[in-house]
Amino acid sequence: MSASGPLLHRRQLGGLAAGALAAGALPAKAADASTFVNGWALPANLDPHQIFDVPMQALMLNAYDTLYRYEGDPPKIVPWLAESHTVSDDGLQWEFKLRSGLKFHDGSPLTSEEVVYSFRRVLALALAPAGAFLKVLKPENVTAPDPLLVRFKLETSYAPFFAAIPSICIVNPRVIKANEKDGDWGKTWLASNGAGSGAYRIIPTGYRPLEYLDLEINDGHFLGWADNPKPVRKIAYRPTKESSTRVLALLNGSLDCTDNALPADQVDPINASKIAQVVKDTIMRTYIIRMNNTKPPFNNLNARLCFAHAFNYSGFINEVLNGYATRDPYPMPDNLWGIPTDAKGYDYDLKKAKEYMAKAIAEGAPMKRPIEIHVQTENEQSVQGAQLFQADLAQLGINLKVVGDTWPNLTSSAAKPDSTPDMWVHWVSTYFVDPENWVGQMYDSQFHGTWKASAYYKNDAVDALLRKARGLVKQEDRAPLYQEAIRKIMADSPDIWIYNSISLMGINKRVKGRRFCTVGQGSEVRWLTLDG
C-alpha cells in the first residue's frame, strides 16, 4: 500500500474506470486550469477587522488591500494602496499619500475617507487587529485632509506602528453601512461577506464557515494583471480538517496545495509522487517551550538552565523534523534584525544539566516535583517535542507529565500566573515584521496576562530597554537596544528557544509562479499560473 506505486497508474486506468462505473467515475481531479483549489485553513469568519491570525492573513492578501504590504523574501514593506508616506521627526505624525483612481469591488471609489472609516472601525471593534494601535491612536486622530491624503497623529512615539500598517484592510463603508444593525459596524454582515478591493472577490453565496469559500478574480484590480497574463480566475478554498485527508487529497489531485505545516515525514513521499511536490521556505516562526517563571522550580535560574540544557535540539530538528528547521537559540527569529549574533545559546548537554540541577537543588528548588507540560493535542509537533523532552528529563530523574490541551484553553489559562501551566509548547508566527512581535511582547512585563508573555518574566533593565526601543523610529537606533535586551534575556534563560521554522507546503506541480513572503506565508494567489 505504498503511496507512489499504483497511484501513478491511475491516470492511465482512468478511462477504464470511467467505462466501468457510469458517468463521472473519474478520480476527483483538481479543476480546470483556472480554478485553484486551496487547502489552507479558513479564518473563523471573513471580517479582517475581527480576526487576525495566519489564516486571515492568507485570505486578506487575496481579498483585501492595505496601505502598505509586505512582499518578498526576506520581507520588505512596499507601497500598496499608498504611493508613499512621511513621518514627523518626533515620530508622532504620519501621512500616507494614496494612489489615484482606486476602486472597490462594487466600482465605488476608494479614497482617504474610506481609509479613515476602516481605521476607525478597527479601533471601535477593538478586536485582535487593533492590538498594535489601541494604546497609541485615538479614532478622531485619523483624518483625511484631502481625498488622497490620510493623516495619523499618535499619542506617543511608537515604532511598530508602521510595521503594523499592513495588517489593516481597507473596507468599503458603503456596503457595510447598508447592512449595519444597531451600530454594530456591520460586524455580523461582514463576517460572512466581502467589502474589499483586493485581487479576488469573495462570493458570499458559496461560503460556509470553516468548510468552503469561493473567490473570483477582480479584473479591475489597481495593480492590473499585466504581470500575469494567465492568472487563476477562481480560488476554491477547500480546507481539510484531518491531516491524513489533506495529504491524500494532494496526492490524488483534489487539492492544489496543503497548508504549510506539513509534517516533515511527508516530504519524501510527496516528492516521490508524480503529481505534487513540497516547497520549503524559511519563515519567521519560532518554536518555544515556555516555562512559568513564577512557579518553583522555574523561579530558580539554575533550574531553568538545567532544563535549557536537557532538550535534544539537534535530535529533534534532524531526526524528528528531518532537518526542516534551523536551530535558533535566540528568543526571536535568527533572520530578523536586532539579533546579538555574538551571544551563544544553550546546547544539549545532560552533564551540564546535571550540574545545574545539583546547584538548583542546593538552592532549594523542588526539582523532583512532577512537572506538567501542556501540548496542543491537535498539533503533532508540539506533542513530539514534549515527548522527546520527557524521555531526556527522565534520565535526570525529573518527572515530566505530558498533558493534552487546546489552543483556546491555553491562551485563557495564560491570563494568570497561577493558571499558566508549568511548561507549554507553542509557536510565535509573524504578525508583523518587527522585534516587537517577539521579544517586545514576550518579555516586557507590561504584557503579562497575554499568551505571548506567559513566561511571566520580569527584569527591570530589560523592561527599560524594550520600552525605549519601542519609542524610537529608526532601525539603526533601535537595533542595539534590542541586542542588549536579548543578551540579558538569554542570560536569564526564561524559556527554551528551539528553532525557527522552515515552512513545508505540499503543492500540485501544475502550480507555477509562486512568490513567497513570510507574512501570509506564501499564500498570495495573484502571482500564480496553472499549467494544463
Partner: protein
C-alpha cells in the same frame, strides 16, 4: 448452570468470542512480560522511526521509533481497565436506581425515570468532549464521561425487569407469607433481573473500548505517551499513506477486542433471554 454452559460451548461464535476475551485478558495481565520491548511504552528511539514491519518489529515502528507490536500488547491493559471501570461504575449507579424505580411507584419512580430519559438524550460523545474540555483531556475524564452516560441503560433494563417481576405471582405469594421488601428485592427480584444486566455489561465492555478509542482519536482521551490504541491511530494519521502499518494494527486490535466482547455477549443473550430487544 451446567446445561447453560454446555449450550454455550456448542455456540461457535460465542466460543470464538470467549477465546478472544480470554486472550486479551491474558495480554492485559502479562503484557509487560510478553512484549518484546516493554520499555517502549514511554521511550523514544529517534534513529529507527517509522520502520515497516520486519522480524525485529513485527508491526513496524512509530513516529518516535517505538515498537508498535509491544505498544499494542501494552495497550490491552489500559483498554480493559477503562472498560471495566466504566461498566462497573455505570452498573453501580444504574442497577440500584432501576430497582428503586421499578419497585416503588409514584413520584419517586417517575422522577428517576424522567432523569434517566434526560441523560439518555445527551449525546455521549458530546458530553465526553465537553467534560474533557472542562477538566483537561485525560483518561480519567473520559471514563467519568462514559460512566455518566452509560448508567441509564442499566436503569432501563432493571426497571423493566423489576416491574415485570414485582407484579408476578411469586412476589405476591412472598408478600402473602410476610417477606419484607428488602428481602424480596435483593433475594428474589435482583437475581432474576441480573442475567440481562450481565449481557448488557458484556456488550457494554466492547462498546466502551470503542468509544474510548474515539475519544483518544479526537485527542480527548488518553494522553501521550500512553500506548492507547485510539491515540495511536490518531498519531498515525500524519504519516499516511506511507506508514500504513502504523494505522492498521492498532485498528485491528480494537476490532478484535470489541468483536470478542460482542460475540460473547450475543451468545449469552441468546441463552438467557431471547426477548431482550430494547438494548443496544
Amino acid at each position: 448452570m451446567k446445561p447453560i454452559l454446555r449450550k454455550l460451548s456448542r455456540d461457535v461464535p460465542a466460543m470464538l468470542g470467549l477465546a478472544i476475551v480470554v486472550f486479551v485478558l491474558l495480554l492485559a495481565i502479562f503484557g509487560p512480560l510478553i512484549a518484546p520491548y516493554p520499555g517502549d511504552a514511554a521511550a523514544s528511539h529517534l534513529t529507527r522511526r517509522l520502520k515497516p514491519p520486519s522480524a525485529d518489529f513485527l508491526f513496524g515502528t512509530d513516529n518516535l521509533g517505538r515498537d508498535i507490536f509491544s505498544r499494542i500488547i501494552l495497550g490491552a491493559r489500559g483498554a480493559l481497565a477503562i472498560a471495566l471501570t466504566v461498566v462497573t461504575v455505570a452498573m453501580a449507579i444504574g442497577v440500584p436506581l432501576g430497582l428503586l424505580a421499578g419497585f416503588r411507584r409514584g413520584w419517586l419512580s417517575e422522577t428517576v425515570m424522567r432523569v434517566t430519559d434526560v441523560v439518555l438524550a445527551i449525546p455521549q460523545l458530546v458530553l465526553a468532549l465537553a467534560l474533557a474540555q472542562l477538566m483537561s483531556p485525560s483518561i480519567e475524564t473520559a471514563m467519568l464521561a462514559l460512566s455518566l452516560t452509560y448508567w441509564p441503560f442499566f436503569t432501563r433494563i432493571v426497571y423493566a425487569e423489576t416491574r415485570r417481576l414485582s407484579s408476578s405471582l411469586f412476589v405476591d405469594a412472598l408478600r402473602g407469607v410476610g417477606a419484607g421488601t428488602g428481602r424480596i428485592v435483593f433475594l428474589h427480584i435482583l437475581p432474576n433481573a441480573i442475567s440481562p444486566v450481565i449481557v448488557r455489561a458484556t456488550i457494554g465492555l466492547g462498546f466502551t473500548i470503542l468509544v474510548a478509542a474515539v475519544l483518544g482519536f479526537l485527542g480527548m482521551g488518553a494522553t501521550p505517551p500512553a500506548p492507547d490504541w485510539g491515540l495511536t491511530i490518531a498519531e498515525s494519521r500524519v504519516y499516511l499513506p506511507t506508514a500504513w502499518w502504523y494505522v492498521t494494527f492498532p485498528g485491528l486490535a480494537i476490532l478484535l477486542t470489541v468483536m470478542g466482547f460482542n460475540l460473547l455477549g450475543d451468545g449469552l443473550r441468546d441463552l438467557v433471554d431471547p426477548r431482550i430487544r430494547r438494548s443496544r
